[in-house]
């Protein structure tokens, strides 16, 4: 039963992808991309990747769509048709597709427990997580501890994106010829979004906090939590107006969150070095190595959540606060 559902989802995925490429209206394309991400998340869930499904839904379907729409509001809505040859592109991608399909025939059967990819490292992780770290969610254990260095890099990628957007959009747009735009007042005059939104926002933030602190016990963790809390604040910005949201959480605080989160993560690593272990070796943080690991994971996940939330909100405000040229 579930396999038929999986086949159905995959087919829908292909149809959506082709529709995205063919449509001329960019707003439609962005909405379809959001649906594409959601279908992708459902697919991940069927393939037992719960953490990834949560991240793809929160980050892919949620935040990406918001940023795309912000950018669309500042540029054009329609795409102009392309003149001229498309054969080169067709041939290139056709050859590429055939090449990949050719390579798939030698791949291990899906789900084969004896495939090489399931030997060697994976069973070690599953066995040793209980022994060394003692938390139920193996994915969080790998993400935060075994391969914590990668996650540190990832936090700095988010940091780079944040300062990049601030840098590029830090140049004021050229003077408009029209008069001053009225202040963005959000959806204040629409009753239904106001009522429903105000009901939803506290639950969204609460859910975000739950995901943050229960990342070790179930699917969740810093990235998802940061994205969810950022979504709650963005909803507030949509309802009350972007300047109100900026008053609630000012730019300085956002930048502080990003820098603080990144330094918190790195700081834990450096502290581990000072206490005698390798960089990011949490076992030396406390007398009991297992407790040290859990303490380390808790702190760095908090750092990650702070950094991601601050970065996403800073990027949103950088786009949303920009005056629209007519």
């Amino acid at each position: 039963m579930i396999f038929i559902f999986g086949l159905f989802l995959l087919t829908l995925l292909v149809i959506t992808a082709i529709a995205i490429v063919r449509t001329k209206d960019l707003f439609v394309a962005v909405m379809l991309t959001s649906i594409f991400s959601l279908l992708m998340a459902a697919n991940f869930f069927i393939l037992d990747a719960a953490d990834v499904a949560l991240t793809e839904a929160a980050v892919g379907a949620g935040v990406t769509t918001v940023i795309f729409l912000c950018a669309l509001a500042l540029t054009d809505d329609k795409e102009k048709p392309r003149q001229g040859g498309r054969w080169v592109a067709f041939v290139t991608v056709g050859v590429l597709a055939l090449l990949i399909i050719y390579a798939t025939f030698d791949k291990p059967r899906l789900g084969d427990p004896d495939a090489p990819v399931h030997q060697h490292i994976a069973p070690w992780y599953i066995e040793k997580t209980t022994e060394y770290i003692d938390i139920p969610n193996v994915v969080t254990a790998i993400l935060s501890s075994f391969r914590g260095y990668d996650t540190l890099g990832e936090v700095f990628v988010v940091f780079a994106a944040c300062i990049g957007v601030l840098f590029i959009l830090g140049v004021s747009p050229p003077r408009k010829t029209r008069g001053v735009t009225e202040k963005n007042s959000g959806l204040r005059h629409h009753l239904i979004p106001q009522v429903v939104g105000r009901l939803l926002i506290p639950f969204i933030v609460l859910f975000g906090l739950y995901v943050q602190f229960h990342g070790e016990y179930g699917p969740g963790g810093g990235f998802q939590a940061g994205a969810i809390i950022a979504t709650g604040v963005i909803l507030y910005a949509l309802l009350e107006g972007e300047s109100e949201a900026l008053r609630a959480i000012p730019r300085g605080v956002l930048l502080g969150m990003v820098i603080g989160g990144a330094l918190l993560y790195g700081g834990v690593g450096v502290a581990c070095m000072f206490m005698g272990g390798a960089f990011l070796d949490y076992s030396v943080l406390a007398a009991d190595p297992i407790f040290g690991q859990q303490l380390g994971i808790l702190i760095i996940e908090a750092g990650v959540g702070m950094a991601v939330c601050g970065a996403l909100l800073a990027i949103f405000h950088a786009f949303a606060a920009r005056e629209i040229l007519s």
Binding site: L99, P116, V117, Y125, F146, F156, G164, F167, L280, S283
Partner: protein
């Protein structure tokens, strides 16, 4: 805390964790001072690492205390040390000279963000070089790429934006191809650690996915390394970036992608796939030769100074790739030396460009007349670095060209054809360097464009230093030579 043991980790941690701190340094000039201090410290760490591996040993470090392949391992050997010296040296030198030029091109409010991005590029590049884990390389590759997009986007001209957008597109496609390749290898071997992959590929029964993976990884890295014909993002990106950014990126950014390509190929693929050497050579050599000839030819007719030097960079990358495709100790040493020497020569040339740009607003060749009268030191530095680029005896560039020719001659009858190509392209280099020298020394100044004085002392000092180093390493090349030879020996022995 045993400092020496932690050095490989510190090489990455020091610039990376300083980057967020730099954003907080708002007062005028403080961000620059902080970034320069960190870059110089990173250079010191790289020198310490180079001394430690000079006798051929490899420094290993297990991140998080977890042993490889379960955790992420760092490994520094002679080849890594050489590239680390190039990266940190280029970053430190460019930053030491940067202040006057950047103050001219970027607004003061945005500068802390800019210098923070610079440190992120530095930490990303060194992170790639010290890493021994395929996915970790991807993460740091993206850190350095994203941060370098930010740096290039700081260019004052509006044309910087489409240029950096194209770079973003091609760079992300390259990184994603690399990711596909790593995924395919992981699927067949079950590990992400490079040394472990080498051990386990031999047990794989179906070779096809591995070949496809090798193809994807090579194309992905070739996009990042500006190998012909995937080099189209380079001329625009280098030309419209801020001048000091071009100094930094031209000296080391593409070399790191070649470093990863060499590592992957020699450590993982050569040992385990039969006849891979011949496939590799057949594939790489024609592309290298085409890159050398076509890029040099384009440079001969180019009218804008920065764009000319950018085309020349593509040709030089062709030289490095040519040495790699020989699959011999001589070829690999020549390539490693050229990574070092080209960074010196090109870095120096672009520093001269920054000096000239301080006085000239338009950098097209026909506008540069009269420079030699008012800016004698700048032009002298240009001549020295230009000679090094051509490969005149007595300069650093000569050493690597000579090694390359020797390596080519080892290839039998084909070797003479290759030597001819190297000589012809060197002649083309003479042509385009002469065109610039002619413009600087013998052309009459354009209307109202004559410079008032020399470039600022800070810029001039660093430019002069780099020019002098070109001559120094041409006469006393022992240290880089030893590193390069160790590197070649390690790479080839790893693949036996």
């Amino acid at each position: 805390m045993d400092l020496l043991a932690h050095l490989p980790a510190l090489q990455v941690v020091v610039p990376m964790l300083s980057a967020p701190l730099i954003v907080l340094l708002q007062p005028r000039g403080l961000a620059w001072a902080g970034a320069t201090a960190v870059a110089v410290l990173s250079f010191a760490i790289a020198v310490a690492l180079a001394i430690a591996v000079l006798d051929g040993q490899t420094l290993e470090y297990a991140m998080g205390g977890w042993p490889a392949p379960y955790g992420i391992a760092l490994s520094v050997d002679a080849f890594s040390a050489l590239v680390l010296l190039v990266i940190t040296g280029a970053a430190a030198a460019a930053l030491l000279a940067a202040k006057p030029s950047i103050d001219q091109q970027i607004e003061v409010e945005r500068q802390p963000l800019f210098y923070s991005a610079w440190l992120l590029v530095l930490s990303g590049l060194v992170g790639i070089v010290v890493s021994a884990d395929a996915f970790n390389i991807f993460v740091f590759m993206e850190i350095s790429s994203l941060a370098s997009y930010i740096l290039i986007a700081g260019g004052p001209d509006r044309r910087a934006l489409p240029a950096v957008f194209k770079y973003l597109m091609m760079g992300t496609i390259g990184a994603t191809f690399y990711l596909i390749g790593v995924g395919l290898i992981y699927m067949m071997t079950g590990t992400l650690n490079l040394a472990d992959m080498e051990a386990r590929i031999g047990d794989v029964t179906d070779i096809n996915p591995i070949l496809v993976a090798a193809g994807f990884i090579t194309i992905g890295l070739a996009l990042k390394a500006a190998v012909f014909p995937l080099h189209v993002w380079v001329p625009n990106a280098y030309t419209h970036a801020p001048h000091m950014v071009t100094v930094f990126l031209a000296a080391c950014a593409t070399k790191v992608a070649i470093y990863v390509l060499i590592r992957f190929d020699y450590m993982v693929f050569q040992a385990t796939l039969d006849a891979h050497e011949i496939q590799f050579a057949m594939f790489m050599m024609p592309l290298a030769i085409l890159g050398i000839l076509i890029a040099s030819a384009v440079a001969m007719f180019e009218g804008h100074l920065k764009r000319l030097l950018a085309s020349s960079s593509i040709a030089q990358i062709g030289y490095i790739l040519l040495g790699v495709s020989f699959v011999s100790i001589a070829g690999l040493s020549a390539s490693a030396m050229h990574i070092f020497n080209h960074a010196l020569a090109k870095g120096g040339l672009f520093l001269v460009v920054a000096c000239l740009a301080y006085q000239y607003r338009d950098l097209r060749l026909d506008q540069l007349g009269g420079a030699s009268t008012r800016m004698p030191w700048t032009c002298a530095a240009f001549v020295v670095c230009g000679l090094s680029l051509i490969g005149v005896p007595g300069t650093a560039g000569f050493i690597s060209k000579w090694m390359l020719i020797n390596a080519a001659l080892e290839n039998g009858p084909w070797g003479w054809g290759l030597v001819a190509i190297i000589l012809v392209s060197s002649l083309m280099a003479v042509v385009y360097i002469w065109r610039i020298v002619e413009a600087l020394y013998f052309q009459t100044p354009a209307e109202g464009e004559a410079p008032q004085s020399e470039a600022p002392v800070q810029l001039l000092l660093v430019t002069g230093l780099v020019a002098v180093m070109n001559i120094y390493f041409g006469i006393f090349p022992q240290v880089p030579l030893e590193l390069a030879n160790s590197a070649a020996a390690l790479l080839l022995e790893g693949s036996r």
